[in-house]
Structure formats: structure tokens, C-alpha cells
Symmetry: C2
Subunit: 343 residues, 2 copies
DNA sequence: GGTTTTATTGGGAACATTCCCAAAATATTG
DNA sequence: CAATATTTTGGGAATGTTCCCAATAAAACC
């Protein structure tokens, strides 16, 4: 099926395509009467410009790609919305790819985005990603890349994260200050920079307060929630079990909470639990989950702003930016006995 | 910055662009030796085909647009994933637009998708949408449209939904069978077809069991969660308050649950609550929320399959399909006293 | 070795648009 | 009214690719 083009309009009105183009793009050098006739005709045939042709000619798509590993959790959608709002303000469209935590899919998505000639890329990589060549392709071709949340250390590109180290440090310090001494950490895979940072925060908080690092209390897992309860049970079955658990994220902490309940453990008295992210669910359940909240929407905004700055720097003078947003410890019933269980 | 083209490769090897094109597209009529040289060179310069040029020429983008009103809740992301899996299998890319429940944004998104020449559209409209002309544009231009979840009655296009009427009917019947007599309904805006269907199911269940329709117990609201508690409180403040509440969706039901708790009402004894959708949170809270679950992932799959069938029917012989997926009532503590509160 | 067949290659149109430059039409000036 | 200035219009190149058709090169046949 043929879609109406400016040539169709030109023929119908017996004028040249140049004039039609001028009228439709709002160029001033066109007679008012002619312009009206053209606009009328365009409306009548429901003309829609062909962005493909324009992008091909101008070598700009006004489209930014956003790649995320998943978007079932609240986190990535909210980041995307933050970024999108910011990008829309500057006239950029967004195409969203989710890799389903699969490296293969991520590489395929990268190729597709490259072929579709996006102007920039905002990305959080999968937990499987060890090789970043598919992202370096963008860099080589002069397409700005901004990493967020899960960033690649080795690439000289802009990165936007929250202060994972400090958030974890605060969380663990809170557990120590409320009297816990055997604090376990259910960590993420070491492919993830934020996972490593949180582990470092955990480590340093213990050390600062003179507590030993117990390797048997540190478990790194692949974020596959189905397996979380296995690891939590393993920890609780230890001869000398932990009195507190700091997890890589809230879903894991919620699993832990459910395991603790199933085992008849009293939370927070027998086991204190702290998550990371402040998932909306964490405030709804009982006891409420103590967690490290991060400015999710702002994360997206900042990533977009950094990218926009780079898109506006046409020459190659742009230097990679590093943005670190603050986290905040939210204390709820999973670490501190609350007088009331109501909301 | 200039990206490598087949012409660059052709010049470098002193051959014609036609031969390069043939080699890269896997056309058989090219000398094996020449092909190897071309593929080597392409790999060396990290050549990426320009999809814009190909799409312009072939008049096909192999891209499907998916428009949703929001994607913070678990529902739409999961539908999108279902659809995307299915579409990827047939070699289609997906571009996702969310309208943030704004009609203006929806129209703007539709224009952008039209300009970017998507091959097909899967859509759930905003709660503000009363005029569907921006979707008729696609139809007129021969671009297949499939509505899901929130469908437009007046358009002759394919539609995929769950059985909202029956789901609501079952939910209300369950409330009646467990002894409730004054059942309130917190409904969605009447712009939404599924909202109207659920209201009809509520209505007919009451009628079937000889219960009166009490207009003061039916409130239609705009799904703005901040206001939900106002309406719930209003209902509970009635001289003759309801003993059960059926809500348009789970987030609303969760708000109601929280209001009931704040008021010191015992759920389910003094107030039974049923939601719709089976949000993951509904199983985690206490009491668990009784709700009507829908096959979310399958909804996306089916929408994609219907669209794919239409995309393969090149002539105009395709007739609109209507798919209705079954719902299932999940009974939890918010309507029936459970012996244990554990998971 | 010449002729026919087959394999391989190159040239150019087409896709829809913008933008530059020249041409034409109109308006302004002396 | 002629000369000049201004407005308005049209023609054509360019964007990167595929595909058709013709041209060339190589192989096969008599």
C-alpha cells in the first residue's frame, strides 16, 4: 500500500515538490496562498512525513536507544520514564530494548540499534555481559553512550549511578548499631559493578566497626529469584547462623523475609533484613522492609541529561561525565521493632 | 561522523557496490573469493547496514509499535514481553511507546510511529481517549492495528482481551456466596471498555442472586491512586456501609485494604475485598488479596500472533479477529478467613 | 578455435526527503 | 517605463541500499 508523499501532493496541485516541502516544514519563502492550499491538501490526504527518508538524508534520527536487562521490576521502567521525559523535552524519541538478562539478546539488540542509526544510547547491561565490544562499536562510530546503574568500568564513557558503596555501608552500619554481630550478605554476580560496590560497602562497614569478615556469610548469586530461598536457608542452617542479612536488592530481601516466616523466625528480633532499592512492595508488607532507597526517576533524568549534553557537543571535545546520586536508608520493621504494625 | 557504507567497501576493493551488496546479503551469484574479501573488509571496518535506506527502498521496517498507557505496573511490561517474544521469532523489532495516560501524548506518539513507518501496531489506549482518529490513520494507510486490554469498540480491527465480564461476575458471585449482601464497586472511568465490562459483570451477578443494585455503592473513578482512599472512606462512611468491595484493579484494592486497616476494620470479617489482575504484591501482603487473575503474558502473545497473521496476509482479505482469554478467581484472605497467615 | 552457455560484475533507477542554486514572477524604485 | 530588488518557484543532487538488466569474463561444447 502506497503512502502519500510530497510528490503526490505536488502533482495534485501542479507545483513542484520543493514548494510542498517548504510549506510543510514551515520554511518562510513560500507564498501564503500556496502554503494554505498545500496544508489543506496535506490534511485532506492525511499526509505523514516519511521519517526514514529524512533521517537518511540528514544522518540524524532524533532517536535515542535505551537498553535494559529487564523491565518487570519497578526499577527500570521508572528510570526509562525519567529519561524519556527529559529526552522528549529536547525532541528526541526513544526506542526501548530489553535483553531479558541474556548476553546474546543484548548483542543482537545492539546490532539492531546500530542499523537503525540511533543518535545515542543509554544502557544498563545484562548480568551475563563480560565482553563490551558491542557497546564499543557505538563509541567508535561517534554515537555517544551513557551507562547507568550497571556500568562498564573499562569503557571511557559517561556513567550515572547511585552511591552503591555508601548505601551498602550505611545499611550494614545500621545493622551493627542496632546490635547485630553476624551479618550475612546475599550478593549479586560479580559481573555487576554495583554488586561489587555494595559488597565493598558491606566489607568496609564491618571492618570499621571491628567485626570480622566471615566468608561463609557472603554468598554471591545470579539474581535468579527462584534460587534465593535456597541460599537463605543455607545461611540459616549454618552451625552459627547470621543474626542479620543484607541483600543485593529488595526482591531478594522479600524472599528472605518469606523464608524467615516459614521457618518461624521472628523478624527483626531473630533475623534482621535489609534490602536495596526501596521497591514499592517493601512499604506494603509486614514487617516493612528496611532498605536503601535510590532516586530512580532522577537516575533516568541524569542519564538523559548527560547524553543530551554530549549530543549537543558536535565536535569531539566532550569528556565523559561521572554522576553519582545519593542513596538514603529507609528504616522499617525488618530491622527495628515498631510499636504499630499499621501503615 | 561518517559511518561506513557499502560504497566505501566497494571503493576500497575496487569493485562495484552491487557486488558488495550481493556479498553482504548472501546472494549466491558472487564469486567465492570476492565474497570472502568483501566479508573480511566489512568485518574489519565494522560495517553495519543502514536500515533506514533499506526500509525506504523496501517500504518495510520490520518494526512493530506497541503503545501502552503506562508501564509502571507489572501488567503492561509483561504483556509487552509476551508480544515481543512472539514478534522476535518472526524477525520483527519492537518500539515501545507509553502515553502516561495522556491523550495528547498518545496522539503525538501515533504521529511519530506513523512517520517512522512501522509495519503494525499493538495498542492499549489511555483512559482519556475518546477520539480514535489517530488510530484510524493507521487503518486507512493499510497498517494493521491490534487493540488489547483497553479496546475501542467502534473500530473494525482485531481485539484481544480477557473475559472481563465473566471475571467480574465470578468475583461478585464469590462475595455473595460467602454471605455478603451489600457489595460496593469501585469502578474505572467509563472511557475504558474493560471497566464497563467489569461493571456489567458486577451488575449481572447481583441481579442473578436477587440482590438490589444500590447506586450509592457504585463509584466510578479515574484510576488516580491518590484519590482511591477518598472514595473508599466515602463508602465506609455511608449510613449503611458495604460489607464487601470489588475494585477495578489490584492497586485500588490494596489502597482499600490499607484504608480498612487504618480504620481498624477487620478484613475479611467486616469488609471483604476483591481486586482484579493478580498483581504480584497481592500474594505477598497480609491478608492476601482475593483477585481475578488474567493470563498477562499470553495476552501479549496472542496480540502478537493476531498481528503477525495480518501482516502475512498481504492482500486485503484479512478479517478482524476477536480473542477473549479466560480469567480465574484467586481466593485469598481478603474474602475468606484463612487458618494460617503464613506464606 | 570459434561458438554457445554459464558465472560474475557493473551501471543506473528507485525509495522520500531536504537544500542549494538558478530561474521566473512580482514588487519597488527612480 | 525601465531598471533593480525582492519574493516565489522549480530542477537536481544527495542520502545508502536493493534489484533489474546489460556487459563482460570464464567455462564448456562441437
Amino acid at each position: 500500500m502506497h503512502q502519500t508523499t510530497i510528490i503526490d501532493i505536488a502533482k495534485a496541485l501542479c507545483i513542484s515538490k520543493s514548494t510542498v516541502s517548504r510549506a510543510l516544514t514551515g520554511h518562510p519563502n513560500v507564498n501564503a496562498k500556496t502554503r494554505d492550499r498545500i496544508l489543506d491538501m496535506a490534511a485532506q490526504v492525511d499526509y505523514q512525513r516519511n521519517q526514514l527518508a529524512i533521517s537518511l538524508l540528514t544522518n540524524r534520527t532524533s532517536t535515542v536507544g535505551i537498553m535494559v536487562p529487564e523491565f518487570i521490576s519497578f526499577f527500570f521502567p521508572k528510570v526509562i520514564i525519567g529519561a524519556q521525559e527529559e529526552l522528549a523535552r529536547s525532541g528526541y524519541n526513544v526506542v526501548i530494548c530489553h535483553s531479558n538478562e541474556s548476553y546474546e539478546t543484548e548483542v543482537a539488540n545492539a546490532k539492531a540499534l546500530l542499523a537503525s542509526r540511533i543518535d545515542g544510547l543509554i544502557v544498563s547491561h545484562t548480568k551475563e555481559t563480560r565482553n563490551f565490544d558491542h557497546f564499543r562499536s557505538f563509541q567508535r562510530k561517534g554515537i555517544p553512550v551513557v551507562f547507568f546503574n550497571r556500568v562498564c568500568e573499562d569503557m571511557d564513557v559517561s556513567k550515572v549511578t547511585v552511591d552503591d558503596y555508601h548505601g551498602a555501608f550505611q545499611a550494614v552500619e545500621h545493622l551493627i548499631q542496632t546490635g547485630r554481630r553476624r551479618i550475612a550478605h546475599l550478593s549479586g554476580p560479580d559481573t555487576l559493578m554495583n554488586s561489587r560496590s555494595r559488597l565493598a560497602g558491606y566489607h568496609d562497614a564491618l571492618t570499621k566497626h571491628g567485626l570480622p569478615i566471615a566468608p561463609e556469610l557472603i554468598i554471591s548469586y545470579d539474581l535468579n529469584l527462584d534460587k534465593a530461598n535456597i541460599y537463605v536457608n543455607h545461611l540459616l542452617n549454618l552451625p552459627n547462623p547470621p543474626d542479620a542479612l543484607f541483600t543485593i536488592n529488595d526482591p531478594t530481601a522479600l524472599e528472605a523475609l518469606s523464608v524467615a516466616k516459614r521457618r518461624g523466625l521472628c523478624v527483626p528480633d531473630e533475623l534482621a533484613i535489609v534490602g536495596f532499592s526501596d521497591d514499592p512492595v517493601s512499604a506494603l508488607i509486614e514487617p516493612g522492609l528496611t532498605t536503601v532507597s535510590q532516586p530512580v526517576h532522577e537516575l533516568g533524568q541524569q542519564a538523559a541529561q548527560v547524553l543530551l549534553r554530549q549530543l549537543l557537543t558536535e565536535d569531539n571535545t566532550f569528556v565523559a561525565e561521572r554522576v553519582v546520586l545519593p542513596t538514603k536508608l529507609i528504616i522499617r520493621g525488618s530491622t527495628v521493632q515498631t510499636s504499630t504494625n499499621s501503615y
